[in-house]
């Protein structure tokens, strides 16, 4: 989802700092994000959808996808298909993680939505839902 509302931009910023704090490979983390400070260094398209964040070490031994969602957006069918596509992508890669960042106090509800989208094949993915701006 492209940065549009200021709430979404703040969520993307939260996502970037969270992923940077969680993943600190010795030679540095490659981060691509849909945020104006990243210029053209935007995440790749995955199954027709562009995530808000993509990160990995180099050469890649793990991959991270992150998505920032407002609640109204998270409950749409498009968002469900998008998250499923990201989980499918990560499920065939070693050491992969998926982060969803949502507005304050929405973590439980959002985690339930993501849980409902998870299939047995996604069991190897570390999934974390975080809330806050």
């Amino acid at each position: 989802m492209s940065g549009e509302t200021s709430a979404h931009i703040l969520l993307v910023e939260r996502l970037i700092s969270h992923v940077r704090a969680r993943h600190c490979p010795p030679r540095g983390l490659l981060v691509l994000a849909d945020h104006h400070t990243f210029g053209n260094n935007r995440p790749p398209q995955i199954a027709g959808y562009t995530p808000d964040l993509f990160a990995s070490d180099l050469p890649a031994t793990f991959e991270v996808i992150g998505e920032a969602k407002t609640m109204a957006d998270l409950e749409t069918g498009r968002s469900h298909r998008q998250i499923s596509a990201f989980l499918d992508y990560l499920s065939v890669r070693q050491g992969s993680s998926f982060y969803l960042v949502v507005p304050p106090f929405q973590r439980r509800r959002s985690a339930a939505i993501v849980d409902a989208l998870r299939m047995p094949a996604h069991s190897g993915i570390a999934v974390e839902v975080i809330d806050g701006l």
């Binding site: 030679r27 981060v31 053209n40 260094n41 050469p59 890649a60 069918g77 499918d88 890669r93």
Partner: protein, 341 residues
């Protein structure tokens, strides 16, 4: 033709109004051609657009100068009889120094290293331009660039951010190069006996492998990158277009079996595709491109809504395939040496 190296104040050197890089932009310009106009032309003159693929070559140069805190190669200037300096080679670098100086970018950008020639006679100016841009320094091949980036980052522990900055700021470029090189070394090299020719030109296949669709299709079909390397070595896949077709082939049981037994060409022949008929097949690319544009512009909103709800619909798949093919084709049209300097 011997010049003397000096540091010249950036505003004492004139940008070259006859610089061949920007001549196509300024030829039709009406009114007084100011430095601002020239700078604007220089900013776009070295690029054919970034096609959404990464930073532009002028941006890369800007990032690289910033990361290096200066330029490695002096610009070349000529002092005319009136004592004015004219920039013969390095107008973009001069313009970037001026921008940094005006914008208060940290560092000293008030002077620029330059090789100064006293009045150049005859075709001296043209000789410098031709040697710099039509002959130019020999660029490394893609495999050698990737190998060097991998060594700096992986063996010599150069931090990723520093490496990206020095390479011009395009993270995706660096990501693709290092991952492609590592995949090739880890999976392709071991298929070779000692002394056997190791074809580094196959590196382009491993660059294509970095396409998310291709790698995902290989893993999802239960194969590994070792298998991919074997297919390349055995020439079951030959050419970059064939690699882009792998998701289609591996996703189809019958085609996959044929591919494993023979090669990708035989597999593609076996895939059922919608009959496009003799008329469409005979149409030229320009006719088809115009027809697609007209169709896309006239598609009813209700159909767009339907496709949004059905991302697996054949229409979406064929449109995305066409976008891929057209983007690659456009890339071929626009391919040129990255020669900003």
């Amino acid at each position: 033709m011997v010049g003397v190296q000096q540091h010249l104040p950036v505003f004492d050197v004139e940008l070259d109004r006859n610089n061949p890089r920007i001549r196509r932009f300024v030829e039709g310009f009406e009114g007084e051609l100011t430095d601002d106009n020239i700078q604007l032309a220089l900013d776009i003159g070295g690029d054919d657009g970034d096609n959404g693929k990464g930073v532009t070559s002028a941006d890369k140069l800007r990032n690289s100068i910033l990361a290096n805190r200066g330029i490695m190669q002096p610009i070349i200037v000529c002092r005319n009889e009136a004592g004015r300096y004219l920039c013969i080679e390095g107008n973009t670098r001069l313009f970037i120094y001026r921008q940094f100086h005006e914008n208060g970018v940290a560092g000293d950008w008030s002077t620029i290293p330059a090789i100064v020639h006293e009045t150049l006679a005859g075709d001296g100016i043209d000789a410098i331009r031709l040697q710099a841009h039509l002959v130019g320094p020999r660029a490394w091949d893609a495999y050698s660039k990737a190998k060097y980036q991998w060594e700096l980052h992986y063996k010599h522990l150069m931090p990723l951010d520093r490496l990206v900055d020095l390479c011009g700021g395009d993270r995706r470029d660096v990501q693709k190069s290092i991952n492609a090189y590592a995949d090739m070394e880890n999976h392709f090299r071991k298929l070779h006996q000692p002394g056997e020719f190791y074809n580094t030109q196959r590196y382009s296949g491993f660059v294509e492998l970095q396409n998310t669709k291709v790698k995902t299709a290989i893993f999802r079909a239960g194969f590994s990158l070792d298998d991919f390397a074997s297919w390349l070595k055995e020439k079951k896949i030959d050419g970059l277009i064939a690699i882009r077709q792998l998701p289609l082939v591996l996703g189809d049981k019958n085609a996959r079996a044929i591919f494993l037994k023979k090669d990708i060409k035989a597999a593609l022949d076996a895939i059922e595709r919608p009959d496009i008929g003799a008329d469409l097949r005979a149409a030229s690319l320009s006719q088809l491109a115009r027809a697609i544009t007209e169709k896309a512009e006239k598609i009813p909103f209700i159909e767009i809504q339907r496709l949004r709800q059905n991302p697996d619909d054949d229409v979406v798949r064929y449109v995305l395939d066409a976008i891929d093919a057209l983007q690659n084709l456009a890339g071929e049209f626009q391919q040129r040496r990255d020669d900003v300097g």
